[in-house]
Amino acid sequence: MRNLLIFITKYNAFFLFIIFEVIALVIYIKYNSFQKATFINSSNQVTGNLYQQVGNFKSYLHLQDVNDSLARENARLRNQLKTSFYVDSAAKHKVVDTVYKQQYEYIDAAVINNSINRRNNYLTINKGSRAGVAKGMGVICPQGVVGKVVFVGAHFSVVQSLLHKETVISAALAGTKDLGSFIWGDNLDPHVGLLYDVLNSASPRLGQQVVTSDLSLFPAGVPIGKISNLHSKNAKGSFLNMDVILAVDFSKLQYVYVVNNKLAAEQLGLEAQQKKDE
């Protein structure tokens, strides 16, 4: 204690300086708003930076929890999405084709499974027999033809897409109505198909649109694609062959319409009779 007092008295100038200077600084910082603000700000810069560093580090430790909570939230939100509900009562849109007295019925459906890179591609849609989908119905999307229904379940259906060896569609050149047959062909390119059996009298142009014909199970005039090559290498048949760029990008297919041709049964029945007669 005595030593301490001696020490303090020996260096009294320094301690007095500290005391007076602290008082002065307190006065200075307390009564000058600019210095006050600056002082607090600069201390905030220091502490703020430190806090941020610590926070950055801490956030790594919490990543697991954050992930879990985000996943939970995602699942919860996904449950509220319209697409996660199975719509039992399908909305049907009716189009009255007055010229041909045909009645087409459209059933909207979402694509829930899809493939484009196999030899025979199918896609699954979320509408089945309960929604009125039946085997043999055509499937289109806003861009063009998609395929036809081959298997039907109560809630789902399997659609044989255009990208299938067995799919043959009666097509026509837009404008001139020259008929032909459309197939995917052998090139396995999901963007290119083949139009063949077009009469030699037809004069197709590059870029001309290819649509469904009156003879198909689709409504007439649904786009299939555009002619990209007038002399296809994968020639088939003895008439004109041409490559067609598909209108539909099958890799991005999300929503489709199932086309219910109400007179198809009658037509098929008549045609079956015709075959019997032959």
Partner: protein, 172 residues
């Protein structure tokens, strides 16, 4: 003793008056502003107790601050000045020399010592003052420039005042 008190009191009042009413209005190119009032602390007798020295520095700073509307700014600088004065004197002046020359004036201590004394103390005071005033290191070059130029001005005025009140040693 009483004469010393009266002389210092008068000096205090005179320097504050000069500082507040004359030098406050003088500023060369907004760079060089003299703070002659510190001469009061420079010229306090050697024998002044440390606590009294600090108290006087505090009061002087407070007075100047009252006129300058910067509470605390000149106090901090003056308290630092008092501390530097104690250090400087303890380093450069022999204890036994106090009896002959009671006050560190130009006439008592000689030009060389007094000039160094005034220069070092003024420089430290002004640096601290200007840095405290700006309170950031952004414009440090400008601040240092102001401090150096003001120091030159103040030291010049201190030397002039020292020469004005020069008493030759023979008369003593």
């Amino acid at each position: 003793m009483s004469r010393t008190i009266i002389v210092n009191l008068l000096r205090f009042i005179l320097l504050v008056f000069i500082q507040v009413f004359l030098l406050k209005n003088i500023s060369l190119y907004d760079l060089s502003t003299p703070y002659l009032y510190i001469l009061f602390i420079l010229l306090l007798p050697f024998e002044t107790p440390n606590i009294l020295l600090f108290a006087l520095a505090f009061i002087l700073g407070l007075t100047i601050d009252a006129f300058y509307d910067t509470p605390g700014l000149h106090i901090t600088a003056c308290v630092l000045l008092a501390f530097v004065r104690i250090l400087f004197i303890s380093i450069t002046v022999q204890k036994d020399g106090f009896d002959n020359e009671p006050e560190p004036t130009l006439s008592n201590m000689g030009f060389r010592w007094f000039f160094t004394y005034a220069l070092v103390l003024t420089l430290i005071h002004h640096f601290f003052l200007f840095i405290m005033e700006v309170f950031r290191f952004d414009e440090i070059q400008y601040t240092i420039g102001r401090a150096v130029l003001s120091t030159i001005f103040t030291v010049f005025l201190i030397l002039v005042s020292g020469l004005l009140f020069y008493k030759s040693k023979e008369r003593k």
